[in-house]
Symmetry: D2
Subunit: 179 residues, 4 copies
């Protein structure tokens, strides 16, 4: 199973990106499978830029998505909704031809320092991904009070760890069936 | 009544930005009241950038929003949802203190070259704006097949023109009451 | 200010209905201003029933809505979404002519025995109400762990009480401006 | 493959129910696989009724869902959102133990007499179904101006027919993989 991991946060010490590292570790993936949106330097979407040519960073990300058999996306909730950074990346990817964001099994994760844990943002994140034709896994993982629930290496709480790996395993089974 | 106009599209010849010009004209506003996101060069949101300081373009936009008594936002629908460009601007603005995006009457417009006319995107756009505490006008204006419905100067169709000005007038009344 | 209170729960000892009683008390309203959906015996919506005639209970509720200057709706979240009972009432009301559910200021409340407190359901409840043209107040009140947070007469916690009355007062000001 | 068909409309000559008959025909299913919500006489959800016992009609429907390997739901859009009738049925089903609405592949259809074709309602219908853990197919079928697009026996337009059968076939493949 070839996974791609994508974070909706550009912050270096992002809790969401940390969730992706923990997921990659559990799934025996290389850390290089975690797309680095900072390095790809994707601009804000503009039809005028597109008319000149799809930016190189977008093309690279599109190729990674195309080659992946399953995606795991972790994203913060900003203002009760999808992260603008993630939405901008999706908007660009949807303009690449052939459009790679179709029929991909996708798992959504969120970490948040608040108690509601980012789940409202994930519901808004489903919409463009499903609208494009992807198979977004119904269960979503969200972790509240993330600054206390995660330490450098792992989940502080065994229950969170168990909930996390059980969701990853359920998703992997789902993705294999749809492959 | 002091209006601010904001477009969710960076494209120079955007139909959405054109709607804002028509709105500004009807409301006797200066074209300078139309915020130019291209000139403000707002970066993609990152907590690391924020830690260094809110970017100047964000601060300028925040000041414009603070001074406005009503906002009119026109935005394309991208992938059944909010424009990433607009969401990114909202995400940044929500980090400015004092946060200016609160209790502002807001009217939403959308132009689209397709027949569904962008209305699904506007429903997703309501969420962060209302979540922040703004008064988003319930009626929303959407214009399908915009490349045929708009010419250089105006609406081709008198019915669209009437629907547009009647919505602007209804919104103005709403905004005045809430001022 | 003439209020109408509407509960999305039919349960006799509903925490949501209890919130309405507390709201009515704070706003010096009669308990008779709380619509009793049980007594109105509104059937499930069917175009075949409608063809014979709008049911009496629907007509009564429509008249109450028409006469109200502001509505306060408290509703449980069922399955991450709007209560079917409340949605069915809205669907019926939207068929009455003249349609009374337009330009009404509306405040949304939710009580829930869980920690997320019903807020996701309220976001879905906004959609039909705003789609019909009502002014739904942006702030929404939600009370988690309601079976511990409410006793027979009042909020157990002074902070909840304060949050509640301050939202009611903010809404009243909003409704008066829009009257 | 064992299908269950469910309509969000109680109207006898419902275009949505007609879509289900066309789907059943294409998939060589018996018309008895189309659940008849009128005959099941499911009441509006109330915790007080539930405390006495889950109504017989709900239990029957729950058993049908449990035995089905895939569900096809056709539902009108009421007020930009889910049909209250359908939501009420989902709310009841979610209270049955063991809860049968989990890990079921589901296809959503909508017919509407308007041009927008019910698609906004389907987006709201995804939420409770996915929240309960079902696999809702990303593509959704919607048919606008349904009173002209359907005659007694079939689609008037060959393109609609093709779009319909191709979506049914795509969904069947999806459901088989997940079985």
């Amino acid at each position: 199973m070839r996974y791609l991991f994508l974070s909706g946060s550009l912050r270096k010490n992002s809790f969401n990106t940390k969730l992706l590292h923990l997921a990659a570790q559990h799934l025996h993936c290389a850390h290089s499978d975690i797309a680095n949106l900072n390095e790809l330097s994707i601009p804000l979407y503009s039809g005028d830029i597109e008319a000149v040519g799809i930016p190189e960073g977008v093309q690279k990300l599109a190729k990674c998505i195309e080659q992946a058999q399953a995606l795991i996306i972790a994203s913060p909730e900003y203002n009760y909704s999808i992260s603008g950074v993630l939405k901008n990346a999706i908007d660009w990817i949807s303009r690449v031809r052939p459009m790679p964001f179709r029929k991909k099994p996708i798992l959504l994760l969120a970490a948040s320092m608040g108690p509601i844990a980012g789940i409202r943002g994930l519901w808004q994140t489903r919409i463009p991904l499903e609208g494009l034709g992807n198979y977004v896994y119904p269960d979503m993982f969200s972790l509240g009070i993330a600054h206390e629930a995660l330490n450098e290496q792992e989940f502080v709480n065994a229950d969170d760890q168990k909930r996390f790996t059980s969701m990853l395993d359920g998703f992997t089974e789902f993705a294999k069936k749809l492959a």
